[in-house]
């Protein structure tokens, strides 16, 4: 039997690195690198290198399960699908379609997400969302308002041509490691790198200027930089005059954000604020990279708008080396949003509250009675489950019981549902609460297209079969839909992509035939269109083609340190784990490198608490308490502590107070107290 090399796309982060899986006798035997991949050039981070470890993992689901007493019974697909049809069907019959909700998956392919949101809406429920709500919902809201499009404006390799790279609220060295190579390349060509983060990180190691701000003070910092840029006349006057609106209001509103005042709020020395502002404004091409450190705040939308203001007043958009780059966390969170698995958008970002959208999809899907949105967001669905307004939920490849804030409440809310079906690959905390579990497939066991953080749509091929009776998520969704009386006859992912080509204008030219190797970057409106790596090069898709500069005042985070809770807890990721950790915590070569939940405490704080390195401590917030071991470090400033959120303990602590517009919870700031356990 010969070895076959199957091209696939990494299932972890949004960088979208490609690699081959070598397959012998229908078994995945190894990884081969892909040196001509446009983003990764053959590189993979530790997660990519360990990706095959979840394939034949002994804990994978191999058959549908139903709850039986305290345990589980293996059941046939027929029985499972009947139970799901009955569970969801009964809820619809009794309480109307608005009583069921769907969580689509930013791990699944575009085709699968498209079908999940289509299923929800054809059943009459507007409630479909995905975990983008917990990462980049503020980018969707904020960037759509300021720039008229929510994606990364420039491709990853383009960072190499930047002359100033400003990284704020992103520890990309650990979360999107391959992006580092492009930053190093920019540095080789003379770029200045600025990093703003509450922690010293491997990303700040790459920086020339490091701004260690207090958690939640990003708007103040960005306003301060805008203040300096405007005051020193470093703005791009022509660009502002021709391409934007709202500059005068911004000028007015940042007037009193002097470096000295901002230094007081943020803890960043005034001189560094001025240096960073000058470097960003003066360079011929500057880019801003940001991530959860900007979005996961009650001021998430404000933060995003303040980021794009900076780019707009300096004219750093629409050209190589410039741009506003929200780095997406999951392999297909961009695609899940593009496909309309969002409460406020149908596919292609057609507004769910617009009757024109309903008309468009009624005719495209040959149906009537599509629900007008917006539906409940992922965070609101959980609340609604708790109050009993949502009776049934279908959760695909997400683990809200672990990844949502204030997880004790999430558990009891999900427990309150009449019917919960979870489709996943492992027994996650959410699956534990399900009535029925459907065994899905991982990337290598199915085919489909995935859209990485730079809007590059890539096709990932099927290398092996799913284990046991597990099926591709596309097949499962079709089975469920048919059992509920819908006409879901899609033989393969390509046939769904063909429908997406017809219904999603940005993807119209991204056909299966064209998706070889390098993929295509949307918008790609026709089959002979080369794709659009750089957005906004000829104006914005907003009124008069002008971008909106939206001035935002600084608001403090929802929680501040107090006598009872004297520390600010901020959360994030580490290089060898991914998100809720259901895959990486089961991957031997990753979990062995970071096996336990820890909390980083500043050495001076630890001395006062009489905590030594490695001590077990209890971290408490009003929501609950968690145990972790202490890591003493000067990476965090005094008064700030950090915990990775890959372990179930962390989100017991975080707050569920959300951004008023984007509804993202403030994962990055929670007041807490710490005590040594003994």
């Amino acid at each position: 039997m010969t070895k076959v090399l199957v091209p696939t796309v990494c299932p972890y982060c949004g960088a979208g690195c490609g690699f081959f899986i070598s397959v012998e006798k229908e078994r995945a035997t190894g990884i081969e690198y892909m040196p001509d991949h446009p983003v990764s050039e053959g590189a993979l981070c530790s997660k990519g290198n360990a990706a095959l470890e979840v394939l034949c993992h002994q804990e994978r689901f191999t058959s549908p399960l139903k709850r039986k007493g305290e345990g589980w019974a293996r059941i046939s697909w027929e029985e499972a699908i009947d139970l799901v049809a009955k569970g969801l069907g009964d809820a619809i019959k009794k309480n109307g379609p608005g009583s069921i909700a769907f969580l689509a998956s930013s791990k699944c392919s575009n085709e699968e997400n498209y079908l999940i949101e289509k299923l929800a809406r054809l059943l009459g429920s507007p409630h479909v969302d995905n975990c983008a709500r917990l990462c980049h919902a503020p980018s969707v809201v904020g960037l759509n308002r300021t720039l008229g499009a929510a994606g990364m404006t420039n491709p990853i390799p383009d960072i190499a041509s930047s002359k100033c790279v400003f990284i704020i609220g992103s520890n990309l060295a650990e979360n999107h490691p391959v992006i580092s190579r492009w930053i190093h390349r920019a540095k080789d060509e003379g770029a200045v790198v600025i990093a703003a983060d509450p922690r010293v990180t491997h990303t700040s190691w790459m920086a020339d200027v490091f701004l260690q701000l207090k958690p939640g003070t990003d708007v103040a910092l960005l306003n301060g930089m805008a203040h300096v840029i405007i005051k020193e006349g470093l703005v791009d006057r022509d660009y502002i005059a021709q391409r934007t609106r709202g500059f005068e209001e911004l000028k007015e509103s940042v007037g009193d954000y002097t470096p000295e005042k901002v230094a007081e709020i943020t803890g960043v020395p005034a001189g560094d604020i001025v240096r960073a502002a000058r470097a960003y404004a003066i360079s011929p091409a500057s880019s801003i990279l940001y991530s959860m450190g900007i979005t996961q705040h009650t001021t998430g939308t404000d933060n995003v708008q303040a980021v794009s203001d900076l780019a707009l007043i300096c004219g750093h958009l629409g050209k190589p080396g410039t741009g506003v780059m929200p780095l997406r966390g999951q392999n297909n969170v961009q695609g899940a949003c593009d496909m309309g698995a969002l409460a406020e958008f149908y596919p292609g970002y057609k507004k769910a509250d617009d009757s024109e959208t309903i008309r468009y999809f009624s005719s495209a899907w040959r149906t009537e009675g599509l629900p007008l949105g917006p539906g409940l967001t992922a965070t609101q669905m959980i609340d609604a489950a708790g109050t009993g307004d949502i009776k049934g939920m279908y959760v695909v490849g997400e683990d809200p019981a672990n990844s949502d804030p204030c997880s004790h409440n999430v558990h009891s809310a999900l427990d309150n549902l009449d019917f919960l079906v979870v489709q996943d690959i492992f027994m996650t905390a959410t699956a534990q609460l399900a009535d029925v579990v459907l065994p899905g497939a991982v990337w290598a066991e199915k085919e489909g297209s995935y859209t990485n953080t730079e809007r590059r749509v890539q096709w990932s091929c099927r290398a092996i079969d799913p284990p046991g009776a597990a099926l591709s998520d596309l097949e499962i969704v079709c089975k469920v839909a048919r059992s509920l009386g819908l006409d879901f006859y899609y033989p393969d992912a390509a046939s769904v992509l063909a429908e997406i080509n017809r219904t999603v204008p940005q993807y119209a030219g991204i056909t299966r035939e064209r998706l070889e190797r390098d993929g295509l970057v949307w918008p790609c409106p026709t089959v002979d269109h080369p794709g659009t790596p750089i957005l906004h090069s000829s104006g914005f898709k907003l009124a008069e083609g002008r971008a909106c500069i939206v001035h935002v005042p600084y608001r403090p985070a929802a929680e501040v340190a107090s006598w009872d809770y004297p520390f600010i807890l901020t959360t994030g990721r580490v290089a060898v784990h991914h998100n809720a950790g259901s895959m990486t915590r089961r991957s031997p070569s990753l979990i062995s490198r970071e096996p336990d939940l820890y909390v980083e405490i500043n050495t001076a704080d630890a001395a006062r608490l009489k905590v030594a390195d490695g001590d077990e401590v209890t971290i408490t917030t009003p929501r609950g308490e968690t145990e972790a071991y202490a890591r003493l470090t000067d990476k965090v400033k005094r008064g700030v502590v950090f915990m990775p959120f890959h372990f179930p303990g962390t989100n017991i602590l975080t707050t569920d107070i959300t951004d008023p517009e984007a509804r993202i919870p403030e994962f990055k700031v929670a007041a807490c107290k710490i005590s040594r356990r003994d």
Partner: protein
């Protein structure tokens, strides 16, 4: 031709470790160490010109082959003298010795070099200095960094 490290580029992602382990049946030959709050240094075999491990190895299992320090598993007795001799702690003995083989027979370029997301590893001795010289030249020509 060992693997050279550009510490200024290393981001401590440990991909080299995981990749090395992956292609060598579970026993890796790279260790990433963390120094202070943000520096990270992958430590791997230097293929020393005068390799103490080969001098210590009485059975001839470790020997110099051109500029590589290579290992003949057939001859290894597992005595562990090499482990004591190596000043960098990059030859291990569990039953028999194992150390960096530069992925001979496994890949054209050592796996860690290809996989390193930050381009911190290379087999080109002069690369880091060339990059530094190019940066310096650019700064001089442009009259300072912007």
């Amino acid at each position: 031709m060992p693997v050279y490290i550009d510490i200024s580029r290393c981001i401590g992602c440990r991909s080299c470790e995981v990749a090395c382990q992956r292609v060598h049946g579970g026993s890796g030959h790279v260790n990433v160490h963390f120094v202070g709050d943000s520096a990270s240094v992958p430590i791997l075999c230097h293929h020393c010109e005068e390799a103490s491990c080969t001098m210590a190895c009485f059975s001839g299992a470790l020997y110099k082959d051109g500029d590589k320090t290579v290992f003949d598993v057939e001859k290894c007795t597992g005595c562990g003298l090499c482990r004591l001799a190596c000043p960098f702690g990059v030859v291990w003995t569990d039953k028999i010795a194992h150390k960096c083989d530069l992925c001979e027979g496994l890949a054209e370029v050592p796996t860690c070099v290809t996989t390193c997301p930050a381009n911190a590893l290379s087999t080109d001795f002069d690369l880091a200095s060339r990059r530094a010289r190019a940066r310096a030249a650019r700064v001089a020509a442009q009259g300072g960094r912007r």
